[in-house]
């Protein structure tokens, strides 16, 4: 018997240790790769990028193809929506280029399509995206004259400093431009012209490159064109170049819209098309984003099975559930280690949940009022000598009525306190009233008060635990902890030591 007992504890302890290791590893992994924080980071920037496409239909069936945003190293897509009534939408991924395809039948009026994307900084991405080695670039097709100019430019560029792309960028951006440069461009050169020229020059030199279109995220930018940058594959990796300053690397708050030379927007069955972007900055609780953030941060299959891969609604439900094991642990501790007797095991837990919804003081006051009125009514009911089931049912109905009156009064007199009444679980309230009134009749009001007080006390302690943003964050983000809690609870099931209250109760027996 003793052996069996020892082995149960041994197995549970082993389970506890393993679960701690497992949880620790997962926490490490999540912090390192999914970018989870130990503390709930309060706020995160969320950018809304709106793409406004407009064109005039030619009377043929319409097909619009627009480069769409995809998650990058720096930014993740939180949400996107398309306002294009009557259009069928489809996403397409071709050669690492994401496009949004919208199709519809022929139209006559000018068309406006809005494509909105919510982004937030992907501080968790941490260099997870690697690109494959690109093939050698195709030589550009230039006429003889331009080829000659290009050769001249290449010679000139050699004298400048920096790596190959930088040399070209510096050359093309010289102020004032030399005549060779000027002759290579139209009179007024645009960003696009420069980018294309750079691309051609690099291709002649055999450097794989691609034009990058992106958006600099700045607060409240309206109706602008995308910025051009250039990516070149040098030193066996892709590097991003600012085509004006020759600076290498991703600028801050910059999101890449499209890589490659394809057009940003293609419209079949439309003309005079234009695409304009707007940016709006907002902030959101980063805890709300944690799941999305994590989901987007990792490409691994392991993620598919994690909570964070679920829709937000389910996540929120689970976030709520994830806190329960801890609450249960607290109640087990209260009962089996401290030795506080409560009315039923889970009454305090349900009460504390209600307190979370109502807020602490309003909830507590409301609870006291409901129980108080309930007890008075129950005392009157007991004079009627009703049978048990109808009597409890009557108490339930009274509780509902009390809640109703409180809510209405609360609304009428704008007392927030009273209107929180509805959040208390009706059956639990009725049951507390019933239990307390029986104890009252049998053991007197003091014992009844004690019972209610104990349950409320445990509920309050539980409340402070489950309402802590910090603890909730931890329990949700590092949900493996629940496994640890499971083993602690089971180990507590083998705890045979004294309860704290017994140290007092049995004090007269103590021997020193």
């Amino acid at each position: 018997m003793l052996k069996k007992f020892a082995s149960v504890r041994f197995i549970l302890s082993l389970g506890l240790i393993l679960s701690i290791i497992f949880a620790a590893y997962n926490a490490y992994y999540k912090i390192k790769y999914w970018g989870f924080n130990i503390t709930p980071k309060k706020m995160t920037d969320v950018w809304t990028i709106e793409t406004h496409i407009s064109f005039e239909p030619t009377g043929e069936p319409i097909k619009v193809s627009i480069a769409s945003l995809s998650s990058s190293k720096e930014f993740k897509i939180l949400d996107e929506n398309i306002i294009a009534p009557g259009y069928k939408t489809k996403k397409q991924k071709k050669d690492g280029d994401n496009r949004l395809i919208l199709t519809t039948s022929a139209k006559n009026e000018p068309q406006d399509i809005y494509y909105r994307v919510l982004l937030f900084d992907n501080e968790d991405g941490k260099g997870k995206m690697t690109a494959p080695v690109p093939p050698a670039p195709q030589k550009p097709v230039l006429d003889e004259q331009r080829t000659a100019i290009a050769q001249e430019l290449i010679v000139q560029a050699e004298k400048l400093q920096g790596d190959m792309p930088q040399k070209f960028i510096r050359l093309l951006n010289q102020t004032p431009p030399n005549s060779t440069v000027q002759s290579f461009f139209p009179v007024r050169k645009t960003q696009q012209d420069i980018a294309e020229a750079l691309s051609s020059l690099l291709s002649i030199k055999g450097v794989p490159n691609r034009i990058v279109k992106g958006i600099k995220l700045e607060e409240d930018k309206k109706s602008f064109n995308p910025d051009f940058m250039l990516e070149a594959y040098t030193g066996s990796r892709w590097k991003l170049y600012n085509i004006k300053t020759a600076q290498v690397g991703m600028p801050e708050d910059f999101i890449i819209l499209q890589r490659g030379n394809a057009a940003l927007l293609d419209v079949e069955g439309g003309e005079n098309s234009s695409v304009k972007f707007s940016v709006l900055k907002s902030i959101s609780s980063s805890f709300n984003l944690a799941g999305k953030r994590a989901k987007l941060a990792d490409q691994k299959a392991s993620f598919e099975f994690s909570i964070f891969n679920l829709p937000l609604l389910e996540q929120n439900t689970l976030k709520w559930l994830m806190i329960f094991p801890l609450a249960i642990l607290v109640i087990v501790l209260m009962r089996n280690v401290i030795g506080i007797q409560t009315m039923g095991t889970f009454t305090p837990m349900l009460l504390s949940m209600a307190l979370v919804k109502t807020g602490f003081w309003p909830g507590l006051i409301c609870f006291t009022v409901i129980i108080g009125i309930g007890l008075i009514i129950r005392a009157m009911l007991s004079k009627l000598n009703l049978l048990l089931v109808p009597r409890i049912s009557a108490v339930v109905i009274f509780v509902i009525l009390i809640m109703q009156v409180m809510t209405i009064c609360g609304y009428r007199f704008s007392l927030e306190i009273a209107s929180s009444a509805v959040f208390f679980p009706i059956i639990i309230m009725a049951w507390i009233i019933e239990r307390a009134s029986i104890t009252w009749e049998e053991d007197g009001p003091i014992n009844a008060g004690k019972e209610v007080f104990n349950s409320t006390l445990v509920a309050i302690i539980t409340y402070f635990i489950i309402s802590s943003e910090y603890i909730r964050h931890i329990m949700f983000a590092f949900n493996e902890l629940n496994l640890v809690i499971l083993f602690i609870v089971m180990l507590l099931g083998t705890y045979t030591g004294y309860r704290l209250t017994e140290l007092k109760r049995f004090k007269p027996l103590a021997k020193d």
Partner: protein, 319 residues
């Protein structure tokens, strides 16, 4: 202030030294180990307990009848027609809840032990309440047991306020381990429940004489209401008390149980009920830690004895 707070708590080691049994240890090391769950109904259901007790030869108040369904409630007068007095109680009750002691009656007036008179309707209501589970654990539907009245021996009359004293014996592996007498007080409302303020008198397990007395954890010498000297208590027919406890082990198969025994003036000690989860207050009444006693039984008591031999063994331990 903290010092005072602190001094009202004992250190775990000092309790361990005194062999005090805590709730967790009781549940884990004794109840869950020695009391099989499927045996609980034998003691939780007073009808079953009674039937078993009769089989094995333990004295209990005679069963007059059982009311199982609401439509039988009106039978009550018919059921008790041969009796001048009777007791109605829920089969699954605890703590004396729902026990109605009727000392005498006419078809529409029932006199309680306290002298209060109830109408037929009130009796009807009471039985209905029992059936609906009002007094039962978890509020489950229950049945009403109607049994003969115990005529309490007058010996302890001076020791109890209103209610009836009973003897609780803790029986471990069939050996009576600890015993106490519970005496009702004004504070306990005439009930013999320690947590309600009844007096607990620890009894020497081998003699049945008082060791010490406590009320609400505080040692006392005189009964608070009757002022009788508590240390003078000597339970008569002690051997028979122990026999009931010892036989209850064979009867139920429970390795750790509490037997509640009352002394009938004519029929001697009678078992009122058994408990598969007896409380721990008995330690305070005795000033003796239960864990130490149980360990001693584990370590030094012989096994394979009959109930009589176990009682002999315990009686022979006279100190």
């Amino acid at each position: 202030m903290f010092g005072k707070l602190f001094s009202s708590y004992a250190s775990p080691s000092s309790l361990k030294k005194a062999g005090v049994l805590g709730m967790n240890s009781r549940n884990y090391n004794f109840i869950s180990k020695y009391n099989r769950r499927d045996l609980y109904p034998l003691v939780d259901d007073k009808v079953q307990t009674k039937i078993l007790a009769n089989k094995i030869g333990i004295n209990t108040p005679g069963l007059i009848g059982v009311i199982e369904y609401q439509h039988q409630v009106d039978n009550i007068l018919n059921i008790v027609k041969d009796y001048k007095e009777f007791v109605i109680k829920p089969a699954h009750g605890s703590g004396g809840k729902g026990v109605l002691v009727i000392k005498g009656y006419t078809p529409d007036a029932f006199t309680k032990a306290s002298g209060e008179v109830l109408s037929y309707n009130e009796i009807y209501q009471h039985i209905s309440n029992i059936l609906s589970g009002l007094y039962s654990l978890g509020g489950k539907y229950d049945v009403a047991v109607i049994e003969e009245l115990v005529h309490f021996s007058n010996i302890f009359k001076d020791y109890s306020f209103q209610g009836i004293p009973d003897v609780r014996v803790i029986v471990y592996k069939g050996f009576p381990a600890l015993a106490m007498m519970r005496l009702a007080t004004k504070m306990s409302g005439g009930r013999a429940n320690l947590h309600q303020g009844a007096v607990g008198v620890g009894l020497d397990i081998s003699t049945g004489s008082a060791l010490k007395a406590v009320m609400r954890n505080v040692p006392i010498h005189l009964h608070p209401d009757t002022h009788a000297e508590l240390n003078k208590i000597q339970v008569p027919n002690w051997r028979e008390h122990l026999e009931i406890g010892a036989k209850a082990y064979e009867m139920t198969g429970l390795g750790y149980l509490g037997a509640d025994i009352v002394l009938d003036a004519d029929r001697g000690p009678m078992m009122l009920e058994l408990n598969a989860r007896p409380g721990l207050a008995i330690q305070i009444a005795n000033g003796i830690g239960l864990a130490g006693v149980l360990k001693n039984i584990d370590d030094t008591y012989p096994s394979g004895l009959t109930a009589q031999q176990r009682v002999d063994f315990v009686l022979g331990k006279k100190s």
